[in-house]
């Protein structure tokens, strides 16, 4: 079963990274009979390995190789070496993710046309639209078992949700429910129903939440067409004299460098590592990095407008019990410039355990103002705010030649500064979030700053015109026909929804395209 391909086999498709994009793409290709070698920097962990302990789990799963930061975002000050919260493991960040699975709204595929030009922003329409994506969204929802789609029931609401819902209704919000979640409300696809464990961010030990780690990856392997090599960190993509990519160089666990030949290379290392890899693959023929004739590789880094609102009540809530992201309010997701900004945002319940709350409630704060908040931890409710942020050329991932990782490779620097539209949206969201909790009697409210980025998007963006983006509507790089981008870095704009369902839908669609082009002899 566990197939092994030869290093010199140049008929394989190499997929770099096995998260939402790469994990799904690998399986989808393997199901179609395409031979795939998936290279994953991290190790393999399954539900029995996951740990119900925030820091211990972080140590097990998180990407902690060095990175640097700059720009005026607060993360750069609070967590200068940790711009993003990303998993390094087979299955990627789908081990950590909360499971919120939302389709883009129709207009969000056409941000530039809908919003008009926004000063300082680099808005663009996606070269695809809602109608084209609809069937792929349906496939993605069925794959993930998303609740409230395909006839699947919603999850029950936990304590955190009930507080949130009561406040939302008091304010007159209408689109309030327990979310469309890739978490089973009933057994589905050989996965358990949710047992309300409450450690969704640490990997679901019941496998109730979809993760590529224990679905797509083993299923792809079972076809005999997919070989997953873990602890394999890709250092460079190499090309031939004609400028086609021909393979990848990677370090194995022991630091030995290998060259795996390839017919096609698909990059899915997440929005920070994917551009880093293209830039680190610069050669005499491509001095600015691969697929970078537009100069857009690494640019337009988006992380969503985020923030949280936590509130304390006079009675217990115990928000940590049950699904971490247990419900949503969608009324503010609309585009309505009368609010003082373009685009919209979602409000979703969130909860952190005490150890993470201490780290993230107000990083750097100390003294009684801070500790009395934690003293009231049992009486806290929380929500996360997530909205569309503006793509800006200067928000970008670059190589930092001063800092090298354990393989001696220059690390990624992540530069980010809020756009005035992001700030206006966050202020609005803080106000609405506070009003929701005030409506149910909050005694104290905390507008909590953004955490290290969990949604990382846009650094190899999709564009109709090769001049202002890196990939075409299939995720194929404009410059190199057999080089694809298959993760969140393809996003042209971020929309207000959590991105993973869209990453998965794009990966399914890309697999169809690649298999089709291969069979036609075009690739």
């Amino acid at each position: 079963m566990a197939v092994k391909f030869d290093m010199s086999d140049d008929s394989v498709v190499v997929v770099i990274g096995t998260g939402a994009g790469g994990g799904v793409l690998s399986n989808e290709l393997a199901q179609k009979g395409v031979k795939v070698v998936a290279l994953e920097a991290g190790g393999r962990y399954l539900p029995e390995d996951y740990i119900n302990d925030e820091w211990e789990s972080f140590g097990q799963l998180a990407w902690v190789d060095p990175r640097t930061t700059s720009g005026d975002w607060r993360v750069s000050k609070d967590f200068p070496g940790l711009p993003a919260w990303i998993v390094k493991a087979v299955g990627g960040t789908t081990i950590h993710w909360a499971g919120a699975s939302l389709r883009f709204q129709e207009h969000e595929w056409k941000a530039l046309s809908t919003y008009g030009p926004v000063e300082g922003a680099n808005l663009l329409d996606w070269p695809i639209d809602a109608a084209e994506m609809a069937p792929y969204y349906t496939k993605a929802e069925n794959k993930l078992g998303v609740t409230r789609t395909g006839g699947r029931a919603g999850l029950p609401g936990n304590n955190n949700y009930k507080v949130f819902e009561a406040g939302a209704k008091a304010l007159g919000y209408k689109k309030v429910h327990t979310g469309r979640m890739a978490i089973n409300s009933a057994e589905y696809d050989n996965r358990n129903a949710c047992q309300q464990v409450g450690f969704c961010f640490q990997g679901c030990k019941f496998g109730a939440k979809w993760s590529a780690a224990y679905t797509d990856i083993p299923r792809g392997e079972a076809t005999g067409n997919l070989e997953v090599r873990e602890h394999s960190h890709v250092a460079r993509i190499v090309h031939d004299k004609r400028g086609k990519v021909s393979g990848v160089e990677y370090f194995d666990k022991d630091g030995n460098l290998h060259l795996q030949k390839a017919r096609i290379v698909c990059v899915a290392g997440n929005t920070i590592e994917s551009p880093r890899l293209l830039l680190n693959s610069a050669s005499a023929m491509f001095p600015d990095g691969l697929a970078n004739s537009s100069g857009m590789v690494g640019r337009n880094y988006m992380r969503h407008m985020t923030g949280s609102v936590y509130a304390v009540f006079d009675k217990p809530v115990r928000m940590w019990r049950g699904t971490t992201m247990a419900g949503i309010i969608q009324d503010e997701a609309r585009h309505d410039p009368s609010r003082g900004f373009v685009g919209g945002y979602e409000m979703e319940t969130v909860s952190l355990g005490l150890p993470f709350m201490a780290a993230f409630l107000n990083p750097g704060a100390w003294g009684r103002s801070f500790t009395t908040a934690l003293d009231a931890y049992e009486n806290m409710a929380g929500m996360w705010l997530v909205g569309e942020d503006m793509p800006q050329e200067s928000n970008r991932v670059t190589l930092n030649p001063e800092v090298k990782d354990q393989w001696g490779l220059p690390v990624a620097n992540v530069n980010y500064s809020d756009h005035p539209n992001d700030i206006a949206m966050r202020e609005h969201a803080y106000r609405q979030g506070a009003a929701i909790y005030d409506a149910v009697g909050a005694t104290r409210i905390f507008p909590t700053p953004p955490y290290p980025s969990t949604h990382n998007l846009g650094t190899n963006r999709m564009s109709a015109d090769p001049k202002n983006g890196v990939v075409n509507k299939w995720g194929q790089t404009h410059d190199i026909a057999n080089l694809f981008i298959s993760d969140g870095s393809q996003f042209t704009t971020g929309a207000s929804e959590n991105p993973t369902l869209t990453i998965v839908a794009l990966a399914i669609r890309q697999a169809d395209h690649i298999a089709d082009e291969m069979s036609k002899g075009n690739l």
Binding site: V197, F206, R318, L374, D375
Partner: protein
């Protein structure tokens, strides 16, 4: 309680005799820092008792939780009793005591009111010493499972089958 934190046969009388009690922490000489009631004692080998007692008090002043006993703060800072941190601690504590003296007190530890000690800490809050101690407490203090129940936090839940039958939706006051 962690190793090297024990009451080591210290009698209450011994403690009261030799201690320079301040802010609830006793510096008792012979390499020991202890609670005035001998509930815990920590033996220091690299840094001085005064320095360790200052660190413990600092930890409490930075993240004061009145229902969390000193021993947990002790556990959180005891790692500073090491050869490689000795100079760093000596310098940091000396600076804090200097500021205390400028404010008319014998030392930071001898500054009786929390708000006055906090005022001293505010003066050094951007220094590497303060930031190291504060940053270390985020995991050093809050990641001690033993204190979680004080905050109501229940920790690991998988082994108990999650909360599906244990109150995930038991809120009754809405």
């Amino acid at each position: 309680m962690a190793e090297r934190i024990s009451n080591r046969n210290l009698t209450r009388r011994q403690l009261l005799q030799s201690s320079v009690a301040a802010g609830g922490i006793a510096v008792i000489g012979m390499g020991f820092v202890a609670a005035p009631d001998a509930a815990w004692a920590l033996e220091v080998t690299e840094i001085t008792e005064h320095q360790m007692a200052t660190l413990v008090q600092m930890a409490r002043d930075i993240y004061p939780h009145d229902r969390v006993a000193d021993e947990y703060y002790v556990i959180a800072v005891k790692g500073y009793d090491s050869a490689d941190k000795k100079a760093f601690v000596a310098q940091g504590v000396a600076r804090l005591d200097e500021l205390a003296q400028a404010a008319g007190n014998a030392s930071y530890l001898e500054t009786k009111w929390e708000e006055n000690r906090v005022a001293l800490l505010r003066q050094i809050e951007n220094d590497a010493f303060f930031q190291a101690v504060r940053g270390g407490l985020i995991t050093g203090l809050y990641n001690q499972k033993a204190i979680w129940p004080i905050f109501g936090y229940e920790g690991e839940s998988f082994s108990k089958g999650g909360y599906i039958h244990r109150g995930f939706d038991d809120i009754n006051w809405l």
